[in-house]
């Protein structure tokens, strides 16, 4: 149901550590905002787009993934031509596209497990301060991914119940039952977690 955006591969980015990739993305992203020269930004775009397209995604899939953000960027590009100037519109569009391809490259070359491990490691200092348990993060993500298919099934059942009664599907008639029936399970799930001592108390 939820397929990760990760793509198998052995490129330089695949082999880099998650922390280095995230730090690099942040630094390059911020640095591009200090550049206002369209030629330099165009070069940056060429580099990141080449990086992204060489990850082995296939052009169709590579484009399909980014389509919603590409549409947003194109929209603001057109708005900027009118409200600012074509020059400024070009600069900001090139910059946003360069960041887009870099961010998409990091996403496509990092597995979810590696990401979660890195986040858990970054949470350890918070645990030392007594603010939270680092392991709770992993538990919470596990719960979300575990219950998405269950809730989707529950939605399908509610949809059939509507059809059986000749009702049209409206958010106001489906949200209440969907949310109540899902959240009612929280007690038994929490008991099961505590009974197994997963949070270690």
């Amino acid at each position: 149901m939820l397929t990760s955006l990760y793509v198998e591969g052995t490129s330089f980015l695949h082999r880099m550590s998650v922390r280095a990739k995230l730090a690099g993305l942040m630094i390059i992203g911020l640095a591009l905002f200090l550049v206002a020269n369209p030629v330099a930004l165009g070069f940056a775009l060429l580099v990141t787009a080449t990086l992204y397209l060489r990850l082995g995604l296939g052009v169709g899939e590579a484009f399909r993934r980014l389509r919603p953000v590409l549409i947003t960027i194109a929209f603001f590009g057109l708005v900027n031509v009118v409200v600012l100037s074509p020059h400024e519109a070009l600069t900001s569009t090139l910059r946003l596209l360069a960041i887009l391809f870099l961010a998409a490259s990091v996403t496509a070359t990092t597995t979810i497990a590696d990401f979660i491990d890195t986040i858990t490691a970054l949470l350890v200092p918070l645990e030392r301060l007594g603010l939270m348990k680092a392991a709770d993060g992993g538990l919470a993500f596990g719960l979300v991914l575990r219950f998405v298919p269950d809730i989707a099934l529950r939605y399908a059942v509610l949809k059939e119940a509507h059809a059986a009664r000749g009702l049209t599907l409206k958010p106001q008639t489906i949200l209440g039952p969907l949310i109540i029936s899902t959240l009612k399970e929280a007690d038994s799930i929490a008991e099961a977690i505590d009974a197994r001592g997963i949070r270690g108390q």
Binding site: V69, A103, G176
Partner: protein
């Protein structure tokens, strides 16, 4: 935060993801179909309260960041967060907290249905619309260079739809308040 609060937040995140998977519906007089997911901020705040609601959105934003296509239309990944509208996604966390914070204070058991609905509506508008736009709009302006005044002007087009979403969210929040109250027991 006890285990039950953690579980409630995680289940709510899962509900928000499922709301993004179902096809958009057309509501009343608004011609553009809306996705049920965009009501999530208001729903999370009014139903599970400030802290649990915000945690549900922290989990969602992290899932987006790690590259799961959990947003409506199969969007996900760092490119969404670092794109022009990434500020709205960050704004959801604070927006659900604000909605929850106000709901916890405005809405109580034993109030009349109308008063509860009014409290939920005020909380949804303040948290789900004002706070979210207050973070999303400056971000758009910073990222794209479009002047802030023009961004505000353009955003006005979304306000009627957002008010309609708040109206639907309060119906759901009231249904849960009656059927399985979670808001009064704060996390």
């Amino acid at each position: 935060m006890i285990t039950r609060d953690l579980v409630l937040s995680a289940l709510f995140t899962a509900i928000i993801i499922v709301l993004g998977l179902i096809p958009p519906v057309t509501l009343g007089f608004i011609p553009v179909p809306i996705t049920a997911q965009s009501m999530g901020v208001m729903l999370a705040g009014t139903i599970i309260g400030a802290r649990r609601g915000a945690l549900a959105y922290v989990l969602l934003v992290v899932l987006v960041a790690v590259g799961l296509p959990v947003l409506s239309g199969g969007r996900g990944g760092l490119n969404v967060l670092m794109g022009p509208t990434g500020g709205y996604i960050i704004g959801w966390i604070l927006g659900s907290f604000a909605t929850g914070y106000l709901s916890e204070r405005l809405v109580r058991d034993g109030q009349s249905a109308l008063l509860q609905a009014a409290g939920f509506f005020a909380a949804s508008v303040a948290g789900g619309i004002i706070v979210v736009y207050a973070i999303g709009m400056p971000w758009v302006s910073l990222m794209t260079g479009t002047p802030f005044s023009k961004v505000i002007f353009g955003s006005l087009a979304f306000i009627p739809g957002d008010l309609l979403k708040a109206a639907i969210a309060i119906l759901a929040a009231r249904a849960v308040m009656v059927g399985y109250p979670l808001l009064p027991q704060r996390a």
